[in-house]
């Protein structure tokens, strides 16, 4: 057992003390049990949508930058998605993809793997910001019907975030989504 020995002990009162370790361990175990029971094990995460189009302001950005290609994802159709590459108002390319929802998880969530794969292919072929040193992201604009349920919107945003690229920031390189998603307000 642990004790405190002061080397004395000739006086009336004893100067050596034993620390009661067993109650101390019991107390610590109770504390551990309480903290484990009340701990919050969060499975929550977030998916980003930035209203700053075309991305956060850059200090060295020219005042009148050239118009960049944007990927417009149209999910208003009943049976298909439409991917439209636009430069300003000029349509560069249009691709139709059949809507094939795939159930995912137990909560009734759906995924669109075909849409995700096509978006990866499209970004690989047409993405403007691919260098790791380029802090800007390609812009994707999501067009939804007013009555579309939010879970469908998240499934499409999830598909848009599938393509990843390297981004070097403050000397560290990490994988980030290739697109920045925002909503169309029309």
């Amino acid at each position: 057992m642990a004790g405190i020995d002061t080397g004395g002990g000739h006086g009336k009162r004893p100067t050596n003390h034993e620390i009661p370790l067993i109650p101390f361990i019991d107390f610590l175990l109770c504390l551990v049990a309480f903290l484990l029971v009340t701990a919050v094990w969060s499975q929550m995460a977030r998916i980003n949508a930035d209203a700053r189009v075309p991305g956060p302001p850059q200090p060295d950005e020219p005042k009148d930058p050239p118009k960049e290609k944007q990927l417009h994802v149209e999910m208003k159709g009943e049976t298909k998605f439409q991917l439209v590459w636009k430069e300003g108002t000029t349509v560069v390319n249009t691709i139709d993809i059949e809507k094939k929802p795939v159930p995912a998880g137990e909560g009734g969530d759906i995924r669109y793997p075909d849409l995700a794969k096509k978006i990866v292919d499209e970004w690989t072929a047409n993405g403007s910001h691919r260098a790791a040193s380029d802090v800007k992201l390609d812009q994707a604009v999501l067009h939804t019907d007013n009555s579309t349920p939010f879970s469908d919107v998240i499934a499409v945003i999830d598909a848009i975030y599938t393509p990843k690229r390297d981004l070097t920031w403050s000397g560290k390189t990490e994988k980030v989504p290739a697109f920045n998603v925002t909503f169309s307000v029309n």
Partner: protein, 187 residues
């Protein structure tokens, strides 16, 4: 060793062996104190490293302890799940249930008004609350740049029109960096 003569001639001087404690009558005690006993059956539990270990656990759990729960989610909200997600961040929470819009648990508008109007619109109550929050943050942190991050907890059945209206209102109120809270879906 002590009984063995050093040579074939008897020598009165012998190598000294153990002499202390030989007089103890109890054989098992004598064996024990002289070092001839078997392995000890009583083992000492190393309590000090055990206490150190417990203290480390306690400190870790205390550091990550939250009395209120880290992410308060309205019970009426069923969040969707997604695969390509990022970790949560600390930011004002706007919850959108089937009928209400709440900022950090306080009412900040109704979804029915937006649905009945059937057009994208700014939610005035939400706008004012968020604008006040932003101004308060700037007063408290005058030297820092305002991050403009907001987290939306949206029920999976809420219409996109309501989500877009809240999204736009948040951006107008100075929170353009909007995140949607989702569950983490395994890949």
């Amino acid at each position: 060793m002590a009984d063995k003569p050093l040579s074939r001639f008897h020598q009165p001087i012998q190598i000294p062996g153990r002499r202390l404690l030989h007089h103890i009558h109890l054989r098992f005690v004598r064996n024990k104190v002289l070092g001839h006993g078997a392995r000890a059956v009583n083992a000492e539990i190393p309590l000090i490293p055990f206490i150190d270990f417990l203290l480390c656990i306690v400190l870790f759990l205390l550091a990550s302890f939250s009395a209120t729960g880290e992410l308060p989610i309205d019970k009426s909200i069923k969040l969707p799940n997604a695969e390509n997600v990022i970790d949560m961040t600390e930011a004002p929470m706007v919850a959108i249930t089937g009928t209400q819009i709440l900022v950090d648990g306080n009412p900040a508008g109704s979804t029915r008004v937006i649905e009945e109007a059937n057009r994208l619109q700014r939610v005035e109550e939400l706008f004012n609350i968020l604008k006040n929050k932003r101004e308060l943050w700037k007063q408290l942190n005058p030297a820092k740049e305002f991050p403009g991050v907001i987290v939306l907890q949206v029920d999976r059945k809420v219409q996109a029109l309501v989500v877009k209206s809240v999204f736009q209102t948040s951006a107008y109120a100075g929170y353009p960096n909007v995140s949607f809270m989702v569950g983490r879906l395994g890949k």
